[in-house]
Every structure is written in structure tokens, then in C-alpha cells.
């Protein structure tokens, strides 16, 4: 028996639509839940005031500062390292056992559970190097965590740059460094930015690593050696200790909105770049 092609087409379409719709539904449910329970708490005061009574009252200003501080530090540390590694792997060396080992190592690093990475950061940065529970320890450990993401995405982005561009540059008497910095990297920038944005997202949402390395002090960190509690950690503590569910949801709402805004900003920036270079 043969199936009617039109019928099959309709069936498959409906099925795929349902699956897509289901995925979307989950996302909407999560965001709606957070928005309904969290948004009412989000007032200018909530954003700008210190936390009091262990977070039961007051705002979340210290956690916003700590989040920005630690994430920024992690990204600033990991981006040059990751992009540099990717450039080396793709442009400055030929495929061989060395590149395979580096790549394998990076993939293994990506597979290490964050709680174990947190423990490693605790032993190395907090204890051994004496940085204590601090923005610095947290930033360094997060940098290690997101490094494989940045290496992987940058490598893919650089590899996707047409070989013709390189040939053209070399045959015009451009050096390898000029070729990489003037043509290859700008062309790969949208992909590299995507990787860095993914890393920002991972860093913003991370708790396990930071519980071990940045501590949970509810003060606004100033020095890199101050302990700091990020929004994600704040949410975790408020919810787990049952201190204040409304404030926990308020924090979650701010966190989700920040991630959304950062993604939109990065996307617009990328569109601009793409337009300029094509």
C-alpha cells in the first residue's frame, strides 16, 4: 500500500509543528512563571538598594554588581585565551597529534561537571594561591569553565572563513599575521561573538562553581579580592533556605531579562558587523 503523498506531507508538517510548538511552550511557561512571580518585585529600589536581613528585605544591588564583575572578569580572561588558542589551532599549525591532543583536552574540559570545576577552583585559587573566596577566584574558575566553548566556536568560525580569502591575501604579499588580523578574524567575528555570548550566558547562570570560589557575601564587592554573591547564587540561597520566595523570583526575573537584553544587543551588533563585511 502506498501512502497519499499529500496526506504524508500534511501529517509530517503537523507533527513537526507540534514538536516545535512544544519546545516553544516550555520556554514560554518558564519565562511566564518567572515574569508573573518575579516582575512585581522588580522596582527601581529593588535594583538599587542593598540587601538586608539576609536577603529577605531590601534590594539586590550587591548581587548585580557581583554578577557583572565576575562575569566580566571571566570573559575578559577567557576570550583572548580561547580565541588565541583557536587561531593557533586553525592558522598556525597543521593537523597532527599535537592539535588532536589540544582539541581532546579542550573537549574533556568541557565535559567536567561544574561542581568539580568549582572544587578545583577552590583548591587552586582560594586555598593554594590564597585569593580566598573572591571575585578573582570566581572569575578565574568561570574562565576555565567557558574556555572550551570559546575555543570550539571560534575554531569553527575561523574554519568557515573561505580559503580563497587567505589565498588572495597571501598572493597580494600580505603576511600571515596581516591576513589573520585584517581578513580572517573580522570574517569570523560573528561566530566568535556567538561563542562569547554563549559563555556570558553560562557565566551568568552558574552557581556551583561560584559557591566554592566566590563565596556568598551579601556586600557589594569593590576589590577583586572581595567575596561576592552573584544573582544566580542569591536566587539559589534565597530559594533553598526558604528566606524569601518573592525576592528569589524577583532576582530570577532580573537575571533572565539581563540575559535576554545581552543576547539582543549581541545579535544587533552582529547584524551590523555582517552588513559591513559582506
Amino acid at each position: 500500500m502506498r501512502l497519499d503523498p499529500h496526506l504524508t506531507q500534511r501529517l509530517v508538517k503537523t507533527l513537526l509543528w507540534t514538536l516545535t510548538g512544544f519546545t516553544l511552550l516550555i520556554l514560554i511557561l518558564i519565562i511566564a512563571d518567572i515574569a508573573v512571580k518575579g516582575l512585581p518585585q522588580v522596582t527601581p529600589a529593588f535594583l538599587s538598594q542593598d540587601s538586608t536581613d539576609m536577603g529577605r528585605a531590601g534590594g539586590i544591588f550587591p548581587t548585580i554588581v557581583a554578577t557583572a564583575y565576575i562575569t566580566l572578569l571571566a570573559i575578559v580572561l577567557a576570550s583572548p585565551l580561547g580565541v588565541g588558542t583557536a587561531i593557533y589551532l586553525t592558522e598556525y599549525t597543521r593537523e597532527g597529534w599535537a592539535t588532536r591532543i589540544i582539541r581532546f583536552g579542550s573537549e574533556c574540559l568541557a565535559g567536567v561537571p561544574s561542581i568539580i570545576l568549582g572544587l578545583f577552583g577552590f583548591v587552586l585559587f582560594v586555598l593554594k594561591l590564597g585569593f580566598g573566596w573572591s571575585v578573582l577566584s570566581g572569575g578565574l574558575t568561570l574562565a576555565i569553565m567557558v574556555l572550551p566553548i570559546i575555543i570550539r566556536t571560534s575554531e569553527e568560525a575561523i574554519k568557515a572563513v573561505p580559503q580563497d580569502y587567505r589565498t588572495a591575501c597571501y598572493s597580494l604579499g600580505m603576511s600571515q599575521w596581516q591576513t589573520v588580523t585584517r581578513i580572517v578574524l573580522p570574517s569570523a567575528l560573528p561566530g566568535i561573538t556567538t561563542g562569547i555570548m554563549l559563555s556570558v550566558g553560562r557565566s551568568l547562570g552558574e552557581t556551583a562553581v561560584l559557591l566554592f570560589t566566590a563565596g556568598a557575601a551579601l556586600r557589594t564587592p569593590v576589590s577583586v579580592f572581595d567575596s561576592g554573591r552573584t544573582m544566580a547564587v542569591h536566587f539559589y540561597i534565597l530559594a533553598r533556605e526558604g528566606l524569601s520566595m518573592p525576592n528569589a523570583y524577583g532576582t530570577a526575573a532580573v537575571l533572565v531579562i539581563s540575559i535576554l537584553l545581552i543576547n539582543i544587543a549581541a545579535y544587533t551588533l552582529m547584524q551590523r558587523l555582517m552588513k559591513r563585511y559582506s
Binding site: R94, A168, Y170, S171, L172, G173, M174, I183, S278
Partner: protein, 255 residues
């Protein structure tokens, strides 16, 4: 052995290997200043390889090996201490497929000269205009120099690539089947450009198109399976070829 001062390029007993495959076997030939030298032969005969040795683009490939000598103006360009980047500025290469960079038309032309040390807006503007005129593209693009080069048609892109090479003010221009993807009108434009350019440059033209070789070149070498079969004045080679294989090739009996 030093080079004859008359020769622009002198190749002595050059052999080239891609891993186990020998692409050139004992090639010896010399190219005079201000001539258009043609390299013809069926695919895989070694013409493109020979071209890529002349500006050391062959260095970019993995697992290659070569023996022999290549002299340019009395300088051994295969020497380990040869300044390859400097060599490529003197020896430009235009490929069969257009390879515009993802930049504006202006930037495609100005980028390499600027990086090579050419300073000043006026000087760069002038280089851009002169080379676009030389490649017979100026009239078509002069009002949209800031547009992306990727928006040009295939024939325009290829002339842009030729202009880009000219903007470097090289001494030698290597062309690897520069018109293989182009329509007859664009092809004619490129050939006309080449004939004009020969006053200022030495040109090496690789082509699968024997008619093009006959039309555009002064002297020609016929390559077959990594060997040079015959070298001579183009007119002579095409009228009274010395070797039966050349005769077979240009009359289309094989290749």
C-alpha cells in the same frame, strides 16, 4: 650557476612533488622581461604548480618537496632565506576563480598597498584609480567604490582581482586560467588588458584555452605529464610545432 642578466626569471631543472606524486620533472626555462609567456597543457600537466612556485604560494600546501633552482633578477627565490612576503609583492598572482575579499571595492585595492607601507589618502586614491583603469573596470565602478566587492558580477570580480594585483605595482604577474569562468566579452576585456600591461610587466599566463594562448602570448611552453615538451615563439609553435605531441595538443587530438 648564476642567472643570465637578460632573463627576468630563470628556472633550472625544477622538480616538484606532492607527497608521492611528481608534478614537475626537470623543468628548465627562462622568461624575458616584458613578454607574455604562456604555459599550456592538459590538466594535471604541472602548469599551475609551476606558476605557484614562482611566487612561493606552493609553500602553503602540506607535504610538498622541490629540487632545482629558480632565479628572479639574479636572486635565488627558492633559497631558505628568501623574503617570501616581499617576493609575493613583486610577483602577483590572479587565480581562475575570482577571489574578492569581503570588503568594499576600494578596500580590496587599497588594503595590500597600505599594508605594504603606502601612506596617504591621495596616494591610495590614485593607486585605486590607476589600477582600476588599467584593468578596464574604472568606468563600471567609479561611482560605487564603497560598495561591497562581493556584489560585482563574475567578470567584474575577475577584473577587480587583476586590478588588485596591479595595485601592488608588481614586476611579474602570474595568471592561472584567468578567464576560465568568464563570458567571451569579459575574456576579451582581460586579454586586451594583458596586451597593454606587457609594456610595464612581465606576464606568465596559464591557460587551457589554446586559442587564448595563440592570441595573447609571445612565447609558449607546452607541458605534458610534468615534462616540458616544447618551448618557442608562440607563432612558430602554433604553425610549425617541433614535436608531434604539441601538434596533437593544439589541433585538439587530445587534452
Amino acid at each position: 650557476m648564476t642567472a643570465d642578466p637578460q632573463d627576468k626569471i630563470r628556472i633550472l631543472d625544477l622538480s616538484f612533488f606532492y607527497g608521492g606524486f611528481q608534478a614537475l620533472d626537470g623543468v628548465t626555462l627562462s622568461i624575458q622581461p616584458h613578454e607574455i609567456f604562456g604555459l599550456m597543457g592538459p590538466s594535471k600537466s604541472g602548469k599551475s604548480t609551476l606558476l605557484r612556485v614562482l611566487n612561493r604560494m606552493c609553500d602553503l600546501l602540506a607535504g610538498v618537496r622541490m629540487t632545482g633552482e629558480v632565479w628572479m633578477d639574479g636572486e635565488d627565490i627558492l633559497a631558505p632565506d628568501c623574503d617570501v612576503v616581499g617576493l609575493r609583492r613583486r610577483v602577483g598572482l590572479v587565480l581562475s576563480r575570482p577571489t574578492p575579499l569581503p570588503r568594499s571595492i576600494y578596500e580590496n585595492l587599497a588594503l595590500a598597498p597600505r599594508l605594504a607601507g603606502k601612506k596617504g589618502r591621495d596616494a591610495l586614491d590614485e593607486v585605486v584609480e590607476t589600477s582600476l583603469r588599467a584593468a578596464q573596470l574604472w568606468g563600471e565602478v567609479k561611482d560605487r567604490l564603497r560598495d561591497s566587492a562581493l556584489k560585482l558580477s563574475g567578470g567584474q570580480q575577475q577584473r577587480l582581482c587583476l586590478a588588485r594585483t596591479l595595485a601592488m605595482e608588481p614586476e611579474v604577474i602570474l595568471l592561472d586560467e584567468p578567464t576560465s569562468g568568464l563570458d567571451p566579452i569579459s575574456t576579451a576585456k582581460i586579454e586586451a588588458t594583458l596586451l597593454q600591461l606587457k609594456n610595464d610587466y612581465t606576464i606568465v599566463l596559464v591557460s587551457n584555452n589554446t586559442k587564448q594562448i595563440a592570441r595573447a602570448t609571445d612565447r609558449v611552453a607546452f607541458l605534458l605529464m610534468s615534462h616540458i615538451i616544447e618551448i618557442g615563439d608562440t607563432r612558430q609553435v602554433f604553425t610549425v610545432p617541433a614535436d608531434q605531441k604539441t601538434d596533437d595538443y593544439i589541433s585538439g587530438r587530445f587534452g
